[in-house]
């Protein structure tokens, strides 16, 4: 199946699949990640390292929750909202989850339209993603305010139960919210570049002075989906557990 790569130096070589493919890709004395632009490979490796950062946060949360002798506050009640005369458990977090998932959907379509050279649609979808992300951060700010001002939760203690609840909560959601905020900034930057046609006219970037192309949109998408991915784990392990 694999033809000897005598004819071509480019991408048209037939490559083996499966385990043979892994061995061939890694041992070829060339780049290991075939068909993947370097920027995308680097984003994946950054995301891998970020995975370990968030893993450590969630692990330390798990450890302090196991080891505390105080009762852990019930997140279902702590994050309930009083709407229409009754407490609806966890409703704010559920809405935040749906907002972030929606932003992931618009981002996926922005990548698609980017590769189709549909600049206006791609940029509009990215700006929608940024708006949803900003909404998410706004709701998080509301949530933090409610917890700090109304409930008296502090990183070193709270009236609801185990002191470790506050430190875990602020650390994990704070770091995630920071990721979302940075993502919103970069979404706006990339959408301006797309809208201006930078990637069609090979305009050099203001920071790296390199010519970009529409892979930048996909790389941006990888980062944004990762932020959504982290929220999936936080939602399940911190809010629902």
């Amino acid at each position: 199946m694999a033809s000897p790569a005598l004819a071509d130096t480019g991408e048209s070589v037939t490559r083996p699949d499966g385990w043979q493919g892994i061995a061939a890709d890694w041992s070829s004395d060339q780049r290991a990640f075939k068909n993947v632009p370097w920027g995308k490979a680097m984003m994946w490796i950054f995301l891998l390292s970020d995975t370990f950062v968030f893993s450590c946060f969630l692990l330390s949360y798990m450890t302090v929750r196991i080891s505390t002798t105080e009762p852990w506050p019930n997140p279902s009640e702590v994050f309930a909202l009083h709407i229409g005369g009754s407490d609806i458990p966890l409703i704010l977090i559920a809405i935040m989850t749906f907002i972030l998932i929606s932003s992931s959907g618009t981002m996926a379509m922005a990548v698609n339209f980017g590769y189709r050279r549909d600049r206006v649609k791609s940029a509009t979808l990215m700006l929608m993603t940024a708006a949803l992300g900003a909404t998410f951060v706004g709701m998080q700010a509301f949530e933090w305010t409610k917890l700090i001002v109304d409930e008296g939760v502090r990183p070193w203690g709270n009236p609801l139960g185990a002191a470790q609840f506050g430190s875990s909560f602020f650390m994990i959601t704070g770091f995630h919210g920071f990721h979302v905020s940075v993502g919103v900034l970069f979404l706006i930057i990339i959408s301006i570049k797309v809208l201006r046609g930078d990637f069609d006219r090979s305009r050099r970037g203001f920071f790296t002075s390199r010519k970009g192309n529409y892979e930048a949109v996909e790389i941006m998408g990888l980062y944004w989906h990762f932020v959504d991915l982290v929220w999936v784990f936080i939602f399940a392990l911190f809010y629902l557990w």
């Binding site: 480019g10 993947v36 529409y214 959504d228």
Partner: protein, 107 residues
């Protein structure tokens, strides 16, 4: 030249996955809403979590269409975190028992 490397898939695939993510999120919210407790709660939450994570990585992040060399390089290392989880479970239990003995009994 480099443009041939981009991931191009029909929009319908993304919309379908988007719908599934909504369904799975609603399901995991309902687990809390109906106060399901104990092992059923934890297994349901973890199942929905893994399914959602898998859909996002596979389709939205295009891992399903990437070559195995990239897939294994990125996906296998985080799985090893589970070893860390096991270690810290023992550590946490040990700390908990020690605190019970020295804080509770002493006072």
């Amino acid at each position: 030249m480099a443009h041939a490397e981009g991931q191009q898939h029909p929009i319908g695939v993304y919309l379908q996955i988007w719908g599934w993510l909504f369904v799975l999120s609603t399901a995991s919210y309902l687990v809390d809403y109906f106060h399901i407790q104990g092992y059923l709660r934890w297994s349901l939450i973890l199942t929905f979590m893994v399914l959602k994570a898998g859909l996002i990585v596979a389709v939205f992040m295009h891992m399903f269409w990437e070559r195995l060399a990239l897939l294994y390089a990125i996906v296998v290392p985080p799985v090893l975190v589970l070893v860390f989880v096991a270690i810290m479970t023992f550590e946490g239990d040990y700390t908990f028992l020690t605190r019970l003995i020295f804080f509770q009994a002493g006072s």
